[in-house]
Subunit: 286 residues, 2 copies
Amino acid sequence: LVGAGTDRTKPLFEGGPAIVLVRPQLAVNIGMCARAMANFGLSDLRLVSPREGWPRTGARRKGAYAAAAGAVHLLEQARVYDSVAEAVADLHFVWATTARERGQVKRIEAPAVAMAETAAALDLGEKHGIVFGPERTGLDNDDIALASAILTFPVNPAYGSLNLAQAVLLCGYEFFKARQGGAVPFERIERSPPAQHEMTLSFFAFVEEKLDAAGFFRPESKRPVMQRNLRNMFHRMNLTQQDVRTFWGAIVRLVDGPRVKPQTRKRVRPKKPGAAKAAEPQEPGA
Amino acid sequence: LVGAGTDRTKPLFEGGPAIVLVRPQLAVNIGMCARAMANFGLSDLRLVSPREGWPRTGARRKGAYAAAAGAVHLLEQARVYDSVAEAVADLHFVWATTARERGQVKRIEAPAVAMAETAAALDLGEKHGIVFGPERTGLDNDDIALASAILTFPVNPAYGSLNLAQAVLLCGYEFFKARQGGAVPFERIERSPPAQHEMTLSFFAFVEEKLDAAGFFRPESKRPVMQRNLRNMFHRMNLTQQDVRTFWGAIVRLVDGPRVKPQTRKRVRPKKPGAAKAAEPQEPGA
């Protein structure tokens, strides 16, 4: 995959819900979370009592920065708090992420529903956050009690353990999808314009004439169904004008054999019933 | 997060589209992909010419197995091929993942659409696969040409670099969502039954009587709107029967002050207009 990396010439999305990591155990995981946030345009990282401290110099900080890849700006902007209550004080709505049932009467949503709600609320000027517990244990019940609702992940029940950065990634992914309407970052490349029906029908007539001459439609009684099948195969390709020209040229070559040298070249022009000008045969790549 | 891990007492999903890793550079990334697959019930892992070889003994194998967490069975079942063509030979439909436009006229879909299509096709007995390129470079154009269509990820354009396991994770997540209809792995806990309207109205009458006695509704002209607002606040909580009993008990204590000792206890029973039997006051936790 990969290929893109950080590219400051492209639109940079920022904002989104706050990502609150509660007592994260490893600095490297904080870095991986920052990377996952940047992938989906989240930029508000908050840390509650990180076990290895934050920020700090030395190997741990280095590990976090390496794991963040190009998203070190998120680490540098990260705010550190002593308690979950302080970390979420300015937020209007807080999702607590949990991997299992936690005995609290709260609404439970999957990321797609939760993040669609958050994206809509952010558009109205609200501030939302998502709280993630420590890697091994998840959130305390007291941390969960601070949240407005629970966010959990639809996972294989027998193998439900997501790592911290993956959980952040899935939230970011669904938030970005909701914000962007799921648009992909690039579209199908510019194609030749689609072939108009006149052109396609001329092509079919040409192909069928050649196949007929080659004795393809046998027995004669099967001709209608064979023709229909063949036409449907081509229709399924949604032929462009260039596609038709390419096929036409290929069939001319198959029928007539290799081109003879230019000086003795005999120009072969297929007969095109109702020949459309646009449908002239061409070699592939012409 | 976390909390669940591998739990063989719970339903284990297997199958799903084949995950084809083409020339993966690091064994540890193969392990992380296996873990992401297991999270979402995918089990068909295929490797094309892994750079570090596969399987092998030593540190690299160990790193891959550690990264796979409980999903080592996927590593053990993984099949190794010399070419992409061989790896996808038995598949009916192949998605090529790319992070950028690759100049090929193919359909391009985001994971949500692609995996919904794949889940539906698998139900009909087809075999689908998703091909991922090496970490740094992504798929060759020749690899992409083998695919039926392109799968790409809606990401922050300025920060489009997903790591290999994250790309696998997002595909698995969308596949599992499509297969399961997005159901979360646990539901809201059993709540006390919702309060019937008779109970809620008795509670409102009780509260308003106490507030009235305490001189809360001032000026008198504001009483209707104050009452309405208060009732709406309670309605928004979707009160359960237990909630009503808890509030009722709390207000009794607020009004009457601390309970006196049992021997001299004066039993306080609030007046309940139209008192519903179910609405008896109770201390929280009673």
